[in-house]
C-alpha cells in the first residue's frame, strides 16, 4: 500500500479562494486536516484499490458519516482524452479501467464531494475549521469539493520505469540496464534485437514474465550499487518521487529497500514478480 497525504500546511502554488472551506494543499481552512490516500495496485495492471482517510477535519468526516458527501476518484489519461469519475460511499474503493482507453499511465485525483447540499454554521471547535470560518453560515452546494488530494501518477510500479531499447551491439539474448535520472527516474534497458522483439510482442508467453523478473532484479541491483548511500544528498534517490513510492511499496511487502544492508535485489524482484512454473505455483514441487 502506497500512501499519499494532502496536508493543509504543505505549500502549493495552486491555492484558490473558495466560498467554503476545503482540505487541500496549502489551504488553511482545516489547519490540522490531513487527507490520506492509500493506493494498492491490482495484479491485473488495470485496477487499483484506493483507501480514503480524512483526519482532523470533523466537518468532512461528519458529512461523510451523514451521507451528505462521498468519495470520488477521477481517473484520467489526457493524451487519449479519457476522464472518468468513480463515486463510492465506502472508504475503500476499487477502481478499474480499460488499458485500451489509456494513452499513458493513468492519473488519479482523489476527493470528497458533496452529493446532498447542506448548510452549516461553522465552528472552530466542532468542525475543525480555521478561525476565519468560525461563526460563518456556509452553504455546501451539490458538487462542492470538501477535500481534494494531490494528483497521483501511476508510475510507482517499477515496470512503468523501464524503457526498453534495442541495442545492436549486444549479442542474441543479452541485456544490460542503466539508471537514467535526467527527467524523472527511469531504467534504460538495452536489449539485443531478439530479446527486444520478444518482449514487445509476446507478453502472453510465460518466458516473458521470467525475463521481466530478471530485468527487474538487475534494476534493483543498480539501485543497490549506485543509489544506496546518497539518499540525503540532492540528486539522491529521495529526490525522485517514483523511487520514494517504490521504496514504500517494498516496505509494504515487508522487504528492505536498496539503502538497507540486507536488501537482496533478486528476492525483491521475485517477490514482486514471482517465477511461476507451468502456470501453477505447485508445479515447481512436482505436485501438478
Amino acid at each position: 500500500m502506497i500512501e499519499v497525504a494532502t496536508e493543509a500546511k504543505s505549500l502549493n502554488s495552486a491555492v484558490r479562494g473558495h466560498a467554503f472551506p476545503t482540505l487541500e494543499s496549502g489551504n488553511v481552512s482545516f489547519p490540522d486536516g490531513r487527507y490520506v490516500i492509500g493506493f494498492e495496485p491490482g495484479r491485473d495492471g488495470c485496477s487499483f484499490t484506493v483507501r480514503h482517510r480524512v483526519e482532523g477535519a470533523k466537518l468532512i468526516s461528519d458529512a461523510i458519516a451523514e451521507g451528505l458527501a462521498q468519495f470520488v476518484c477521477t481517473v484520467a489519461s489526457p493524451l487519449s482524452s479519457y476522464r472518468i469519475s468513480h463515486v463510492s460511499t465506502e472508504h475503500s474503493q476499487e477502481i478499474r479501467w480499460n488499458n485500451d482507453d489509456m494513452g499513458e499511465p493513468p492519473m488519479f485525483t482523489p476527493m470528497v464531494v458533496v452529493l446532498k447540499a447542506f448548510q452549516r454554521k461553522l465552528s472552530q471547535q466542532l468542525h475543525g475549521v480555521h478561525e476565519l470560518w468560525h461563526g460563518r453560515n456556509v452553504t455546501f452546494e451539490l458538487g462542492t469539493r470538501l477535500a481534494l488530494g494531490d494528483v497521483v501518477l501511476m508510475r510507482s510500479s517499477i515496470l512503468n520505469m523501464l524503457l526498453f531499447e534495442r541495442d545492436l551491439e549486444l549479442s542474441e539474448g543479452e541485456f544490460r540496464v542503466e539508471a537514467e535520472d535526467r527527467e524523472g527516474f527511469r531504467f534504460r534497458v538495452h536489449l539485443a534485437q531478439d530479446l527486444h522483439r520478444f518482449l514487445r510482442y509476446n507478453a502472453a508467453d510465460q518466458r516473458h514474465s521470467h525475463i521481466v523478473t530478471h530485468i527487474v532484479g538487475a534494476c534493483f541491483g543498480v539501485l543497490k550499487s549506485d543509489f544506496s548511500e546518497d539518499e540525503d544528498e540532492e540528486g539522491g534517490w529521495r529526490s525522485f518521487r517514483g523511487l520514494v513510492a517504490m521504496a514504500e511499496m517494498l516496505k509494504a511487502r515487508e522487504l528492505p529497500h536498496w539503502a538497507d544492508e540486507d536488501f537482496a535485489p533478486e528476492l525483491a524482484a521475485s517477490r514482486l514478480y514471482p517465477h511461476t512454473i507451468g502456470g501453477h505455483p505447485d508445479a515447481a514441487n512436482g505436485e501438478e
Binding site: 489526457p78 482524452s81 476522464r83 469519475s85 485500451d100 489509456m102 451539490l142 458538487g143 462542492t144 469539493r145
Partner: protein, 299 residues
C-alpha cells in the same frame, strides 16, 4: 481476448528524426533540404523514411480504398471523415493518440498510392499546392530561404502524424488530417451514443467546424493536461448543448472560436469549485444550457 498490435514507426527513432529536423541548427541546413527533396518525389520519400526509421512490426492499418485529392486529404469533407472512421472503428484511443502510429498510417497511404508525399507540404486552403510550396522553399535565396524551408518541414511533420515537440499533445488531434478525422468522428459517436441521425448532424456542426481554430479550441479543452472538464460526460453534455444552440441560431456567435472559448472558460470557472462530473445529468445539462445562452449572441 487478443490485443491487436498495430505497426508503427519505432517511437524513439521517429522522435529523434523529428527533433533533428526542427532543431535550430537544422533551419535551412542540408538536413532540411535533403528531407524536402525527398518529400518532393514520392518514391524518394518512401526510401528516405525506410532508411531513417525502423518499423515496430504489427498489423498494418488498411489504407482507405480510394485515392484522395490534395484538397480532400488536407481538409476531408465530413462524409470522408465518417467513411474513414467506419473503416477504422476497431482502433482504440490508446493507439489513436500515438504520433508514431499515424506517421506510419500516412506513410502507408503514400506507399499505396492513395495520396502523394507532396500533399504533406500543403498548408490548408489556398491555391498553392504542397509541391509548389516545396519548390518555393528549395529555390528561395537569402534570408527567406531558411525560414521557408523550416516552415515547410514543420508542415510536413505536422501532417504526417503530428508534431508534439512544438504543438504539444493536441498536435495529433489537430494537425494530422487522418488522425483528426478519426478523433472527430469518435467524438460524434461518443456524444450521440448511437442516437438518431439528426442529432449526429447537429453534433458535426460543432466537431467538424468550418474553422480549424474552432476544432483546436475544443481539443485544447478536451486533451489538455490542465483541462478542467471533469469527465467525458461533462464534455459530451457541453457539445450536445452547443450543437442544439447552433441549430436554433445558425448565426450565433458560438459558431466562432472566440465564442466557444468563452463558453469553455465559463464551464472551467464552475468546475474549479464544483465537481460537475458526479452531478446528475439533468443538473449539468441545465447548467450548460444557462452558460451557452449567456454567451450566445446573434451576429
Amino acid at each position: 481476448m487478443s490485443i491487436t498490435v498495430y505497426a508503427e514507426w519505432d517511437e524513439a527513432g521517429y522522435t529523434r528524426l523529428r527533433r533533428s529536423l526542427i532543431r535550430k541548427s537544422a533551419k535551412g541546413a542540408d538536413v532540411q533540404r535533403e528531407f524536402l527533396e525527398a518529400v518532393r518525389d514520392t518514391p524518394d520519400f518512401l526510401l528516405y523514411m525506410e532508411e531513417h526509421l525502423d518499423l515496430r512490426e504489427g498489423t498494418e492499418l488498411e489504407p482507405l480504398a480510394e485515392r484522395m485529392s490534395e484538397a480532400e486529404f488536407g481538409n476531408p469533407p465530413s462524409d470522408t471523415e465518417r467513411r474513414l472512421f467506419d473503416a477504422w472503428q476497431e482502433l482504440t484511443p490508446r493507439i489513436a493518440c500515438r504520433v508514431a502510429f499515424w506517421g506510419r498510417v500516412t506513410f502507408r497511404h503514400i506507399e499505396q498510392g492513395r495520396i502523394e508525399s507532396t500533399f504533406l507540404a500543403g498548408n490548408g486552403g489556398g491555391t498553392v499546392t504542397g509541391a509548389q510550396r516545396i519548390d518555393t522553399a528549395l529555390s528561395a535565396t537569402g534570408e527567406e530561404s531558411p525560414k521557408s524551408m523550416d516552415a515547410c518541414v514543420r508542415t510536413v511533420l505536422r501532417r504526417m502524424g503530428g508534431l508534439p515537440e512544438v504543438r504539444g499533445n493536441r498536435s495529433v488531434y489537430v494537425n494530422c488530417p487522418l488522425a483528426r478525422a478519426w478523433w472527430r468522428e469518435r467524438l460524434v459517436a461518443e456524444v450521440t451514443a448511437g442516437e438518431d441521425d439528426e442529432l449526429q448532424r447537429h453534433i458535426r456542426t460543432v466537431v467538424h467546424p468550418e474553422s480549424q481554430q474552432y476544432w483546436e479550441e475544443l481539443v485544447t479543452f478536451v486533451v489538455s493536461r490542465n483541462s478542467v472538464f471533469g469527465s467525458v460526460e461533462v464534455r459530451n453534455i457541453l457539445v450536445r448543448t452547443l450543437a442544439r444552440a447552433l441549430d436554433r441560431s445558425p448565426t450565433s456567435s458560438l459558431r466562432r472560436a472566440t465564442g466557444l472559448k468563452q463558453v469553455c472558460r465559463a464551464v472551467s470557472i464552475v468546475q474549479a469549485s464544483r465537481e460537475l462530473s458526479v452531478l446528475p445529468y439533468d443538473h449539468v445539462a441545465q447548467l450548460m444550457e444557462t452558460i451557452v445562452q449567456l454567451h450566445s449572441a446573434e451576429t
